[in-house]
Amino acid sequence: MSVNSQRVLPGFGLALGYTLVYLSLLILLPLGGMILKASELGLAQILDIALGERSLAAFRVTFVSSLLAASINAFFGLIVAWVLVRYSFPGKRFVDALVDLPFALPTAVAGITLATLYAGNGWLGRYLEPLGFKVAYTPLGIVVALTFVTLPFVVRTLQPVIEDIETEVEEAAASLGASRWQTFAKVIFPAIGPALLTGFALAFARALGEFGSVIFIAGNLPLISEIVPLLIISKLEQYDVLGATALAVVMLAISFVLLLVINVLQWWAANRHKNVEPLEVAAGKAKQGEGA
């Protein structure tokens, strides 16, 4: 092949071979084993298990609380990213580094700490419970734990995109008579929209599979506050390996679909970025017009 003769650099065969063998042993073989195990059941039986009363309730709790957590993070994450990029305030670098805390703090630590904070006698629970918000040991607690764990995603996907917005574009909009709110809604928001969606999807995908932080604060009542990963484990502990596998395969299928969606979103975000050019041209023209 002509491509081969153009390769000057060494190590292609060795590195590719090692990568493929390693991935096959660690990823493909185990996942293949699980799919093989699930095929013992057949599709009808898998759906039967996944759509049983307890499983269905677990899927609903997992989906709804993940959606809520990702939405909370989309809203506040946008504000945090904006504040961190555009404003200056004392301790900004410290705050910026702190955003990654949920990635660095083990989930079990987050779990017991949030459960203690939001319990009836905790720092936050003692003020929230008289107001009627019972957080710890309710589905609301799951949302709080998932919000903590997925907090960095939206902020970190938005920050570089906000940094890249050319101020000329905003100046152009302003000089054409737009108010600040119009500039945000019509110029800035369309530019960061795809990244916001990507961050939301990443947070959602991570929240669906989260286990460690949730189990301490959820209360884990079947049908009410039991998440799918916990149900998988309790099936495993009752030696119902096939039942656990059926739920795991459904979770895996959802993960694959989300991974696909995220890839498409990232591609869209990257291409969207290139389309800023006409606006830049407009900004340049607007500036010239101002000078004349």
């Binding site: 060494p10 991935l23 700490t113 203690t116 903590f148 979770m251």
Partner: protein
């Protein structure tokens, strides 16, 4: 006057700025600052001597030790895989490259519990290799080897994900120059490639190490929770907490929280170094942009 009008439209009014700042920082305070503070306050709730005694507990000690052992065992595998995968993906073109990248991303999307389960199905008593392992008296599930394998699954993408964009942005000119000047493959690697990627590699090591030491779900499924034997520190936190030993649980948790803080500091320092280095590079080579 026109300048005034411009700032009015390119900057938010002062009250909006103040509100956004308060909302953003308030959110971070309640969701990040307060939990971080609470870990240490709870751990020290009965004073320093009680805290230190809780850390002396032999089971906590052995959990710390096992956590370190697993993290160290995983590290060489992750470095080797990360460098090899990044080398192939960043410096060569071949069919199926995007599929390979997606495969590397997979553990980020798979639930840790599912990651643990797939190894039970492979190596557990009723698993595909279970009978053979039992006949030869190898213990993988409910033992340290299984915990290492599960941690490998969870942590292998971190270094590769860090190195791929870095090596792509560096291009292959320097390596090609080394080869055409007569360097051998390994000479090129040690003298050109490794010095170029050392900060990125360190960054990936920091991230994968934090995850390896803190992993809960996947390790929990394969560990069997045997006290003093297959308890890592995060698993030990759970046991102590469920026994209503709040001081012990938060003392162990505070060790992990300190580790998280060290990780954040190290990460920030390495990020700063990397930015400094690219700035220097850009200053040396005006007109030539890294991309």
């Amino acid at each position: 006057m026109s300048h005034n009008k411009l700032t009015r439209a390119t900057q938010e009014p002062a009250w909006v700025r103040r509100t956004l700042l308060a909302v953003g920082l308030g959110f971070l305070f309640f969701f990040l600052g307060l939990p971080l503070l609470a870990v240490f306050v709870e751990a020290l709730a009965q004073g320093l001597p009680v805290y230190l005694e809780a850390l002396q507990d032999p089971e906590t000690r052995s959990a710390i030790w096992l956590t370190v052992v697993i993290a160290l065992a995983v590290l060489p595998f992750n470095i080797l895989f990360g460098v090899a995968a990044a080398w192939v993906i960043a410096k060569f073109d071949f069919k199926g490259k995007s599929l390979l990248i997606t495969l590397i991303d997979l553990p980020f999307a798979v639930s840790p519990v599912v990651a643990g389960l797939i190894f039970i199905l492979l190596f557990g008593a009723q698993g595909y290799f279970g009978p053979w392992l039992a006949a030869n008296e190898y213990k993988v599930i409910f033992a340290v080897p299984g915990m290492i394998i599960a941690t490998l699954f969870i942590t292998f993408p971190f270094i590769a994900r860090e190195l791929i964009p870095l090596m792509q942005s560096q291009g292959k000119d320097e390596e090609e120059a080394a080869i055409s000047l007569g360097a051998s493959g390994w000479q090129m690697f040690w003298r050109v490639t490794l010095p170029n990627i050392k900060w990125g590699l360190l960054y990936g090591v920091i991230l994968s190490n934090a995850r390896a030491m803190g992993e809960f779900g996947a390790v929990s499924v394969v560990s069997g929770h045997i006290r003093g034997e297959t308890n890592t520190l995060p698993l030990h936190v759970e046991i102590l907490y469920n026994e209503y030993n709040a001081i012990g649980a938060f003392a162990a948790a505070s060790v992990l929280a300190l580790l998280a803080l060290v990780t954040l500091v190290a990460k920030t320092v390495v990020e700063w170094r990397m930015r400094k280095e690219t700035e220097m590079l850009n200053a040396e080579l005006p007109g030539e942009k890294t991309q």
